[in-house]
Subunit: 374 residues, 5 copies
């Protein structure tokens, strides 16, 4: 398990376009990857797949397989033209196309006359342990679902495997079910992210108890931000699933709604976990601050005890280090000038005096409870 914690940054820009751009203009985000298209056409009996880079592969597959459900999976948003061609072919509102390219959407489910549009956030750690917050969007129309992802990494292997295996409702329940399956898989990735965060929190907390250092504050703050990001993804996700359940569109069949209720429960479980982890993070920070303060307290106590004991002793040594003259210029003894110095046992008496003061002070501190732990 890797417990490296990196600085988490928020992404501020709303879109790649300019202020006052015409609504519906598809502007691909800076640095977007070139799209890779995979098409899965399936019915109860067969699964036909093809891959490609442009609209042609889609059109030919749609023509070829006419009584299938089609899942058109597009990884990479770097081709505005492709998005516009798909929109034109399926007669999609340009505002929807703009939202696909504009990668800071909140999860939502928008219904239009004969199609629906759904977005989600894919939040996960990448291989370098950096937090990724990507957009997933899908258009559902007739027997077609087109899904858009930002990168080429594969989150949906399990769905593909179930499609190949052909068990359960996945082959027969239409594009609405596929939309549910993809959404549920995204929520499952939240749990993987949260499990990793849980491990990191455990490691931080162990460190608080064994080997606390400054990194605890930094790391807790980064975890907190990660939790905020995933909370901002999962709260509207819940609302979105709820919108899907209450939708009257024929694309979301009653059978799919039953599964969506299950996904809704999962989403609430994720939100519960997030709240738990937020509380744990706060509690770790409180414990750490309390330890820092205790440490400070302990240091001050040691300083004070040592200082307060030695200050009077050093003063006494200073007294008997003074050079008051024992004789005046004429050799007369000045009896009042530090007579103790001329006692035969002056030194042992002085040491005894110092020792008594030290013991007395220790006793006072003991009585005050300064040697107890606080």
């Amino acid at each position: 398990m890797n417990n490296i914690i990196k600085r988490v940054k928020y992404n501020a820009r709303r879109h790649s376009g300019n202020v006052g751009d015409r609504p519906g203009l598809v502007v691909v985000p800076e640095g977007a990857l070139k799209p890779h298209i995979a098409i899965f056409s399936y019915n109860k009996d067969e699964l036909i797949t093809s891959e490609g880079k442009d609209i042609k592969v889609i059109l030919s597959q749609l023509k070829k397989c006419d009584n299938h459900t089609h899942w058109i999976k597009i990884n990479g948003l770097g081709d505005a033209e492709l998005i516009e061609q798909i929109g034109e072919h399926l007669k999609i509102n340009p505002l929807v196309l703009e939202d696909i390219a504009n990668i800071h959407q909140r999860p939502k489910f928008d219904e239009y006359d004969d199609y629906a549009f759904s977005t989600s956030r894919i939040v996960r750690f990448n291989d370098d342990d950096e937090l990724i917050n990507h957009q997933f969007s899908a258009i559902i129309k007739d027997n077609i679902i087109i899904s858009f992802e930002e990168d080429h990494n594969e989150c949906f292997d399990a769905v593909k495997a179930r499609l190949k295996a052909g068990k359960g409702a996945i082959r027969t329940a239409g594009p609405g079910y596929m939309c549910y399956a993809l959404t549920d898989t995204i929520i499952d990735t939240y749990f993987i992210l949260l499990a990793k965060i849980g491990d990191k929190l455990d490691a931080i907390e162990d460190k608080v108890y064994t080997d606390a250092d400054k990194s605890i504050m930094f790391n807790s703050q980064q975890i907190k931000r990660t939790l905020i990001i995933i909370r901002r993804a999962s709260w509207p996700e819940r609302d979105k699933i709820n919108d899907m359940i209450r939708s009257e569109s024929p694309l979301i069949t009653p059978e799919v709604k039953l599964f969506l209720r299950d996904a809704y429960d999962h989403c609430i479980q994720a939100m519960d976990l997030i709240e738990n982890y937020k509380e744990v993070t706060s509690s770790i920070i409180d414990l750490y601050l309390s330890m820092v303060s205790n440490r400070m307290n302990e240091i001050m106590k040691v300083l004070t005890i040592i200082s307060v004991i030695f200050i009077p002793l050093t003063f006494i040594a200073g007294i008997y280090g003074m050079n008051f003259a024992h004789q005046d210029d004429k050799g007369h003894i000045l009896h009042n000038n530090i007579p103790e110095l001329y006692w035969p046992n002056g030194y042992p008496f002085a040491l005894a005096l110092m020792f008594s003061i030290a013991v007395a002070l220790v006793v006072v501190f003991w009585k005050k409870g300064w040697f107890n732990k606080l």
Copy 2:
């Protein structure tokens, strides 16, 4: 009473399965115990019980007692096959079966065509004072209630005793009443947990006033987490009971609803107590931090008073410890070099000076109120 407080951990994993598993797949949690089955078939006149380990004992009992209400009590979720067989026999949706095995459900009450599914959280301290947060789930159908618990420990002895005694509505009011009785017993265990927490809080608070040490912070944080966990169990429990009260299913009779209203009140009382304890915990932490800060303040004051009194005195001793020559190389008296040293009463004067300074400083501090408590 045992006031040991252990570190409270949250359990992160959502389920034992993998990302993208087919919905409805029953995956038993890692380390689940082998199930132990007990069947209680009862009507107004008699109570017949049997025990076993597999589906056969259930089927034979159901056949034997045909005008009874059956409470099938399963402790241990370690047998996926058993759960699937029960599901098949009673025609239960696979998503429900998945939820039974997936032990991180929130309390909920889901109604289906002719059956209902209910989950709760059993939160309690085990014999080692560790917090247990187990899942309880129940299926109600016709005259049957099947309850699933995670472990073999017995929470429902009181219900069994009332069943044996046969007083009240328990023998006659059907499986809905049994579901109420089990739910109410679970809420009662919350009060036991809260009473224990109350005792622990009292002990911690006593300690703050008598013998405060670092453990207070740790212990308060653990109590806080425990309260969070039980709050996360009881809030949805309340919603669940409310759903049961508003249910139109014939399984929840009006008579049972009257009792559920009572359970609802109990649940709100538990939530009230939880909020109270959260406030007490915060107040203890505030008091403790205030004490730490007061202690620090007191230590600093002692250090300062002692230092500030002795620093000038030591300086004077230092002055008269300087070795400025009384005679030059030729034996001439250097009258300007520390003449005080050659006064007949130089030493008493020096001591008197020091004493006056010390008294003056003490008076200043007195005036400033530093000897008052703050």
Copy 3:
């Protein structure tokens, strides 16, 4: 006015019974007082009162006065049998009887077929300035209202006096009005409690400005808890009154509802005051913590100024206290060894040097503003 503030404890146990007890079982709380019964039978023309200890006195009075409204006032819950006999006589649901004996109910108003059940919390300081949080409950049926209080102390003297005086609606407006009158009196006692708390807060705040000590933190925390307890009593009280206003039961006549609207306003005023006092308490704690921190700051500044001024001076005295030899073993003068000591005016120069350093440091601190207040 008494400003002693005692430690406020919460009461944890839900009831005196055991987990899984049959619902409806009347278990009197531990240490409950033996009941004392007073019956007030009144109509427009007369008021007949009697007292006693068991059900017989009630039954005989009910028989005797048949066109009266009856207020049966029971102080002390120590007799389960009495509660059950009343329940039997009036045909009250056992769950209601359980709630009367179970003294941790939240304020609520439950309507049944032909009777209603109401609970409130009586929160007040007793004669020892300890916070009392007692349960008040009342059953209203036909022309009877039966009220239950936990102790023998008298909160309702004013109501009895109005009953005797016979002015206003109290004699004619039925048991619903009596229920209103008792509820309104309970809310009035909240204002008395709040006035006491207000006095205590004023005293604490005065102390912050004149003579702050550690007790401020403790006392503020106790006030905070008291406010939490009374808030937990008054919030559901408001909901309860609202339920009464919206009730369609003939027991609550439109005339009574007008008065209840007034009681509702009073309840909201109490809640407003509670919120105000919570803010004041927080503000006192903030001020106190700020004063502690300022005091610390001031102490540190004195320590630092004195130390930093004397440390170099003492160092110089130390320099000239060194014993570097003025002559070698052969009597040669070692001119490099502390020649200052042999200057005719070495001592005045040294004193002047020290004085200059001290003045310079004071000027530096002055410039830095350390002699200003911060």
Copy 4:
């Protein structure tokens, strides 16, 4: 502009009466001023005013001007009899009369059969910069509006001036419009109060940046309380205006409702400002606490740097101040006893050593960044 900030106290007592007083009893508050009555009878054409101290002046004016709208303005609540006489004459519910005298009402708008009752809070600084929180109440019936204020100060000069000028709807739109005009003027006084608070906050914030002292904490807390008081006045004021807008009473005409929508907007603007100022106050407190902590830090750093540099130097001086004998009793040189003291250049070497140590420590602190600002 006067920036003196006085301690803000909350007023705790609910009313001047006793617990359990008969509802509807008019008890004038302690120290209430004797009432002063002014009557403005106006229609489109004329405005007739008269003044007095008792009910007679009202009755004669009402008789005299029979096709006018009457604004009866009563300043001072010290005459219970007057309030009762007015109530009797207009047939007002005694509960309303009680509320007029009971000066801790929240803003509300209560409708009765043929009249309406409205209360507001007049919150302002008086001439001594003390916060005043007075009650304004008004009864509207037929063509009469009776307003009650607590003191003789004049808040409604502008309304009187508009009445005299006779422009706009004020002369023709009935008592409902007058109620709106008075309410809107009260909200306008909130803005004056808020502008003063804004000035005070600016002054406090300037002080934080230039000349921070302890008063900042005190003053910020007083501002906070003032804001809480005005917030508690304006929140229910908003609800009250909303109730007036949604009222179906013929006293509130559609024309008046249009104006009330405007007043509603003003009220929300006031609430917005209050929230802004609360945030500013918190931010000032945070800045101040941060400055205190920085100051402490700086002081500690100076103390530490000076101490840590001089402590080793003083120690070295102490070493060479020791009196180890150079010769034994027989005059033999003890070569091991502090031979440095007898080096010809011992003193310069010692000084050089001290200087090197000081420089080395300064370099170390420099490297650690202690001379940077933090």
Copy 5:
């Protein structure tokens, strides 16, 4: 990029008028700029523009272009007469005209019989990096939209450009669409502001990690205030857009509502960003405070370690600096007076003793972990 952060002030005054002013009175704000009028009359085929300073230019253009949509754009509110003339010409309620001149409106959408009134806040940094919070208001009636801005700066260049280009719905969809276009552009400027804030936050956070100083607290507080201001602008903006979507006015066509749904999403995205930045700001402040406290801790530790090591050593040096007499007045050796001083190796022994004590203390501190980082 410019990261200078200036002190952010709130603007308190509600309006330029006086308490109790007649509602509907147009009072231009102090210092308001003289208005500059630009008129854009457009239909599918042509775009006619003219500019001017008074009502005449508007009237002549309206007469000239009778089958066009007119966008009358007024920059500067310094001419009350102009506003009143426009109101008179279009028969606008005086309360609306008052709101145009009263520049502290919250965003709102008010519908009247045959026109609608909309306000927004334009929040942006000006060229001096000061926060500007200006009012934008617009009246829509028939085929006319009149927009009012406070200053002459141009926010709507992009809208003008689209109008000139004539693509999309802008030329054909009426004044409602123009209102949408202006609103959406205002929301776009929020994102520009937020992007700048994001850059500033990044710069502050970088500084925390590299070169923390006092400015961090000040800057974070200013950012927080900026976020509060923009939040107070965007929350009611969202409600306003929602009101527009739900409006049944024919001025807002279904086509425009589709676009408004898009603007609504943008507004929620802005609010999400604001919440994110608030969390980041809090996290920066927490990190900074933690660093200050760590720095303090470190300083205290160095002070303590150095002090505690040297205090006993200096004491020992003091002991052997005492002047107890080795001989009495008669020349007898006083053997008990600091015999160590007369040992042949007294000095090396003393140094060894000091060295051992120093090493022992270092070992103790090492064991206590004081040399670890905390």
